[in-house]
């Protein structure tokens, strides 16, 4: 094995790392913002709110991210109404298509996680809030959502890792993320083993960083739910 071509071109990987982090974190933030109303709709008593959220989540979770990305990146160009509108400025760029696809994708999974966490809110907490005379809005803002966010943390950390790993498909639509960088290096030097092992190491390092970060968050926000040390 000869790693010199990879090391000489390591700049591609740094650029790729930057793109991956940028895409994933932007998608996570936007996805979370979408996921909160989706989760609330999904758990609503009104069918006209519940059904669209359920349908959206069902479709996104039932199809591969790669196909979603292809529909947006390759498919939207076929739709005249999109091509003629100002939206086309976005959807002709691979970067925005990837961000759009990742955001829609993670929003669906996160909404489902949040809904589960909201449903398992201890009844006592809500009753106490009502007894205090809090309005419905205030209960959501001060009791329900903060407590659900905490309980959703472990499952959400899994989703973050899934999105990070899923984001590798960005390299397929010409973007230079970590996978894209490895593909360029492999195409130039025909050294698949070295090129992809280095990419794997980059992803591994990122994965462990995320896991470490969430461990710390869990320690901070979930310590009241942990069993006391023996």
């Amino acid at each position: 094995m000869d790693f010199t071509p990879v090391i000489e071109n390591i700049d591609f990987y740094w650029q790729g790392l930057f793109t991956t982090i940028q895409l994933v974190s932007a998608a996570l933030i936007l996805g979370l913002m979408l996921a909160i109303p989706l989760a609330l709709m999904r758990g609503s008593q009104h069918a006209y709110l519940r059904f669209p959220a359920w349908f959206y989540i069902y479709i996104i979770r039932g199809t591969p991210l790669l196909v979603q990305l292809y529909i947006i990146y390759y498919g939207f160009g076929q739709v005249e109404s999109i091509k003629a509108s100002w939206l086309w400025a976005f959807f002709k760029e691979a970067y925005w298509c990837a961000l759009f696809a990742f955001t829609l994708n993670t929003a669906a999974y996160t909404a489902e996680i949040l809904r589960g966490a909201i449903e398992t809110t201890p009844k006592g907490e809500l009753e106490a809030a009502k007894a205090f005379g809090m309005s419905k809005n205030m209960i959501y803002r001060r009791i329900l959502l903060p407590s659900a966010f905490r309980r959703a943390l472990p499952a959400y950390s899994n989703e973050v890792i899934f999105l990070l790993h899923g984001s590798a498909v960005a390299g397929v639509i010409t973007l230079v993320d970590i996978t894209g960088a490895a593909r360029i290096v492999n195409a130039r030097f025909y050294n698949p083993f070295e090129a992809f092992i280095v990419a794997a190491l980059f992803y591994m390092a990122l994965t462990f960083c995320f896991i470490w970060l969430f461990k710390r968050l869990e320690k901070r926000y979930l310590s009241h739910l942990q069993k006391p040390a023996q």
Binding site: G62, V67, Y70, G75, F76, V172, P192, F196, Y203
Partner: protein, 229 residues
């Protein structure tokens, strides 16, 4: 817009290949998952450590990278090896085999965790009772451990199967003629990418929906409390 211009049979052919890959890699993953779980719970340090390295490594790297590594990297490796053994012809790994092996290998790691949890949920005393009855280890596994382990592992298994099914879409990238790649080709010829990728999405949705329904029934089967309800 929704005229498929005669490409429907091609797409359906691709769906069959997708299903074949998914089922074969599931079979491989089930075997690896049970072996991995037994390894993780074994008293042997080497078995325990290697199972741990296997699951940690696989689960920290994206599926696509592993697939590219095994397909392209494996190709180079096999040819280097053959060359050293004095074999001159170029050996080509079939993308089908590479796809099945990679996906099976990846989901073996995820299933290791699922099965480990399932095995731990079976009371030790029952296994001891089985041994006390003079059952061989294989019989204890088949009659006592496996049926009860399945009950606890099935919800996790269902989830993993749904993810696996969707992961098969990646084999199109290493050139395997699955559903997605057939759609690539049809979209290229007809200039209708939206139509064909949408169709692919619908087919995947049908697969995942049917799977969910069937696995719900299987869950009831392994859960005697819910059987017949």
């Amino acid at each position: 817009m929704f005229n498929l211009e005669g490409y429907l049979p091609t797409i359906l052919e691709g769906s069959i290949i997708t299903l074949q890959i998914a089922l074969l890699s599931l079979a491989l993953a089930l075997v690896l998952g049970i072996l991995g779980a037994l390894g993780k719970l074994s008293r042997n340090v080497i078995a325990r450590k290697s199972a741990e390295i296997y699951t940690t490594l696989i689960r920290s790297v994206p599926d696509l990278i592993l697939m590219l590594l095994i397909y392209f990297g494996g190709q180079v490796l096999v040819n280097d090896l053959a060359y050293k053994l004095g074999y001159d012809d170029y050996i080509e790994i079939s993308p089908f085999a590479a796809g099945v092996i990679t996906i099976g290998f990846i989901f073996g790691a995820y299933l290791t965790e699922t099965f480990r949890g399932g095995i731990l949920a079976v009371p030790q005393g029952q296994l001891e009772a089985g041994r006390a009855f003079g059952m061989s280890p294989i019989k204890v596994f088949r009659r006592i451990l496996f049926p009860q382990m399945m009950r606890h592992a099935l919800p996790g298994l269902t989830n993993n199967w749904l993810v696996l099914l969707k992961t098969t879409a990646l084999v199109s990238i290493i050139g395997l003629d699955d559903l997605v790649r057939k759609a690539n080709m049809a979209a290229g010829v007809t200039q209708k990418p939206f139509t064909f990728y949408l169709l692919v999405g619908v087919i995947f949705l049908v697969f995942t929906s049917i799977s969910t329904l069937l696995l719900k029934r299987l869950e009831n089967h392994y859960n005697p409390e819910r059987r017949g309800h």
